[in-house]
């Protein structure tokens, strides 16, 4: 099969790899119809996540048709069209049995702090991902879901991570009616978090980024107020001014490890890998939320330490909530929102790229060219 493969930092290519096999009785093999490049794939692409091996196939957002099932698979059949959550989970461990699917303890031999994720290095379990023609899907009876009739494939694709994670970010903010919500980052997760904040009753939603085209998207798709932090002297002060001096009730951090805005933090974290991630966005979140407010962290960080201003968080009495989204738990409600016309996740898709051109796709996405927000890969194009 053809698959994207990692060749080292900033280098990927398409290779012919052996087809994946059933390796456990509850595995399925899925023929990928659509995959996406996630912003967090860029952390892998940039060499930030430890144990990202040459030859690895990225891609934790994909949908496709079931091509083969293992002997114990009961809930899927060959030919089913499925969306696959980015988390790999067993459904029965201490965490899964409580619905914490992203924290499954039975699928990642390489780490206990991280669950299993498709195509996300050996730190996340060493599973090849969906930017390929075929992919091995473990625990086929608990992860994938047959895509309901009438659901647009690109909408389903966005529910496998991006939109579900954004929704989860808003949920962890514990938003109450009339809250002022600030979202750092106008990428796909930030857009979804902003849109979801309204569903939960926010009174104001302010999105912060430095890319003007992403802020325009936040205004159009998520009905948000926007601030370009590159055009204000002090984004924390600006947000304080806009919130009567108290700060936002809720801040959703949708930026993560490669946050810009402070050269030294960016250099030590994103370039020299001396921190688990640039803490710029996280520190801005701590500074711009009100006392006793809530910060929801959806940005992806690595396992090393980061220079986070925790003293301010402690003194302000903040609640910090975070996790990888338990995507499958989100789906029933999000499909209802989709059917009701409250959300249209595929609106965030800006580029459709054949698998053969995936190196260009990564470069365009990494360099933020061509007003890119969300690229989708078409393995069979």
């Amino acid at each position: 099969m053809k698959a994207m493969t990692y060749r080292g930092p900033y280098k990927v290519r398409v290779e012919n790899k052996p087809d994946p096999k059933i390796e456990h009785p509850n595995d399925a093999i899925v023929r990928v119809e659509l995959a996406a490049i996630c912003g967090s794939d860029l952390h892998l692409y940039h060499g930030m996540l430890p144990d990202t091996r040459v030859g690895h196939t990225f891609g934790h957002e994909f949908i496709g048709r079931v091509e083969q099932v293992g002997s114990s698979v009961q809930n899927l059949s060959v030919g089913d069209r499925v969306m696959v959550p980015f988390n790999i989970f067993c459904g029965s461990c201490y965490f899964c049995s409580r619905g914490l699917f992203s924290n499954c303890h039975n699928v990642n031999a390489n780490a206990t702090a991280v669950g299993g994720i498709y195509g996300y290095s050996h730190t996340a379990g060493g599973y090849d991902g969906g930017q390929a023609e075929l992919v091995r899907v473990p625990f086929a009876d608990v992860g994938p879901m047959v895509i309901p009739d009438g659901v647009d494939p690109e909408d389903a694709l966005m529910l496998t991570d991006a939109f579900s994670t954004g929704y989860f970010g808003a949920q962890l903010g514990d938003i109450t009616q009339g809250d002022t919500v600030v979202v750092f980052g106008a990428g796909p997760i930030g857009l979804a978090a902003a849109q979801s904040s309204w569903l939960m009753g926010a009174g104001r939603v302010i999105v912060v980024d430095y890319l003007d085209y992403r802020l325009r998207k936040a205004e159009q798709m998520a009905h948000a107020e926007t601030i370009n932090f590159g055009q204000v002297n002090d984004i924390v002060l600006e947000l304080k001014k806009q919130t009567g001096g108290l700060g936002a009730d809720v801040v959703i951090e949708a930026v993560g490890a490669e946050a810009d805005g402070h050269v030294m933090q960016h250099v030590t974290a994103a370039k020299l890998k001396m921190q688990g991630g640039s803490p710029v966005a996280l520190n801005w979140a701590i500074d711009s939320v009100r006392k006793a407010g809530t910060i929801s962290v959806m940005g992806a960080y690595g396992p090393l330490f980061s220079a986070v201003k925790f003293g301010d968080a402690m003194n302000k009495g903040l609640t910090l909530r975070t996790n990888q989204a338990p995507v499958k738990r989100q789906w029933p409600r999000l499909l209802e929102h989709l059917a009701a016309g409250h959300i249209k996740p595929s609106e965030m898709i800006t580029h459709r790229i054949p698998l053969e051109h995936i190196a260009e796709g990564y470069h365009i996405f990494s360099s933020k060219l061509d007003d890119i927000i969300k690229p989708v890969i078409t393995p069979t194009a």
């Binding site: 060749r7 080292g8 459904g91 619905g99 060493g126 409600r333 190196a359």
Partner: protein
């Protein structure tokens, strides 16, 4: 400004928001939020096992020392091999995830992996092509100038540093290896001629 018990600013009008924002407030009740409560005992998952059957073939599979046994299911994407594999094996066998050395060794293994794979590719049927693999050909037809300039992009302030930061440590490391090798291989009397 005066700080009173009231929240500053105008109170948003729910009717106005409902009219303007599709679905506004439809999940006001936390019970309508899909993953609420965060932990839900006895959730139905589709699992029809208490403990999943063990995936075979894991005899040499590396694992975190924080796991008492190999997980029932594991990835088989890129097994350990070569020098990078030895570095990674040492990181997994020796250090827990709480140790910085664990992660720094894995990052070292990644860099060694990339270099050795590149060198090996030069004698393979398909050598690396760093230029095309960087995707830089995507600059054409994707507005490289208009995307970057005249838009106040703050990343441009430090992007000139990037090549230095990415390549610089390798140059310094190569120099250090050279000096060390020279010190070991050459007699002291010949070093300063």
């Amino acid at each position: 400004m005066p700080y009173t018990s009231e929240k500053p600013g105008a109170t948003p009008d729910p009717d106005e928001l409902r009219a303007r924002i599709p679905g506004w407030g439809s999940d006001l009740d936390p019970a309508n939020r899909p993953a609420f409560p965060r932990e839900q005992p006895d959730i139905v998952t589709g699992a029809h096992w208490d403990l999943p059957e063990q995936q075979p073939g894991g005899a040499s599979r590396e694992r975190s020392v924080e796991h008492e046994r190999l997980t029932p299911v594991f990835g088989t994407a890129q097994p350990l091999h070569g020098v990078a594999g030895r570095i990674r094996r040492f990181a997994y066998d020796r250090y827990s995830e709480g140790q910085t050395a664990h992660w720094m060794l894995l990052i070292l293994g990644d860099r060694v992996d990339a270099i050795t794979a590149h060198v090996a590719s030069l004698v393979s049927k398909r050598p690396d092509e760093p230029f095309t693999q960087s995707g830089v050909t995507g600059e054409v037809a994707h507005h490289p100038i208009a995307s970057r300039f005249g838009r106040g992009r703050i990343d441009l302030k430090h992007s000139w540093l990037d090549p230095l930061l990415v390549v610089g440590p390798w140059v310094l490391a190569a120099f250090a290896v050279f000096k060390l090798g020279r010190a070991i291989m050459l007699p002291a009397s010949k070093r300063h001629r």
